[in-house]
Amino acid sequence: MSRRDVRRLVGVPVVAALAVILAAGILAGPEFGEFHGAYGQMLNRVAVPERHTTNVVTSIVFDYRGVDTMGEEFILFAAVVGVVLLLRDEREPGRDTRGDDVQSDGIRMFGVAMVGPVLLVGLWLAAFGLVTPGGGFQGGVVIAAAVVIVYVTVGYRQWRRFGRERLLDPFEGLAAAAYVAVGLAALVAGSAFLRNLLGNGETGTLLAGGSMSVLNWAVAIEVAAANLVLFTEFLESYVVPHIPER
């Protein structure tokens, strides 16, 4: 019996048991659609009058639970640093590789047509994150996607001009630092960490949220840079072979 068969034999009952326990736990909870979490319902009532931001989810992320988001941002940061440490060390930068110029006109046309709209959607998601659905995390990912489309359109060699660590790393680090700086600025001003110093602004406009907007943009830049650093690292370890063939 192979190791795989043993795993299957042991795995099926164990996984089934885990799934049944999980399902039983969910069924023992409140009925679907009937759970009224007091915290969430309270925030739905008070977030708009208190913070002047109409997207309650974003005001939770950047204000009510802003410290959690800082932790989350540093999980992202730490993971990116981990990937960079694993993949970057043995590479010889700048060594050119294989001709991967884009051959298909269809892909080029698609790329040229899509870059603008995708970038715009990303900026819009980030900018209006405090007003309508969206936010720094979502916007950042879409902005990074726009840059990846540039790679798809122009090929590796041209893309490498700005898909470089030297260009991306500062954004990644500084955006993470900016989040902490906003928090510390509140401490220096004599109030609690991450407290909104810039005032609330007018409800439902781009100016609503005060410090939250700064945090929102810091996260957008951080997420976009993080995604691009990850993309660059994986791409380079594929394109640039680091070890001689055995």
């Binding site: 799934a19 979490g37 989810v57 993971a79």
Partner: protein
């Protein structure tokens, strides 16, 4: 309806874990973990759902309109971000293992070392 969410969440979780148990490829293993984690998104969002309620966004919506729980939605956002970064880290580790051992099959790697 509760039974349906329970089945969906338990199924996705179970499929992911089972895939990880029998996986013979580290990249496949990373994807199985992602699948398994997706069950938590569904669980969180269904926990926050309220019958007849809208999104917790009050642009052009009168305050006090019933809305679903925004806290679990914020948690789901965190969940997704952490999931993506952890997947990236696992894939980088898989790449590193492949570089050193020349294989991404956990069994083969164990044999090489043992």
């Amino acid at each position: 309806m509760s039974i349906l969410t329970a089945i969906v969440v338990a199924w996705i979780f179970g499929v992911g874990v089972y895939g990880a148990v029998v996986s013979r490829n580290l990249i496949h293993l990373a994807l199985c973990l992602s699948v398994s984690q997706s069950s938590t998104y569904i669980l969180l969002l269904t926990v926050g759902y309220r019958h007849g309620a809208g999104a917790p966004i009050f642009k052009g919506v009168e305050l006090g309109t019933p809305a679903v729980d925004p806290v679990v939605q914020a948690l789901t956002l965190t969940d997704i971000v952490v999931g993506v970064t952890v997947t990236a880290l696992i894939l980088a580790l898989a790449l590193d293992v492949h570089r050193d051992a020349g294989s991404v099959d956990p069994d083969e790697i164990a044999e090489l070392q043992g």
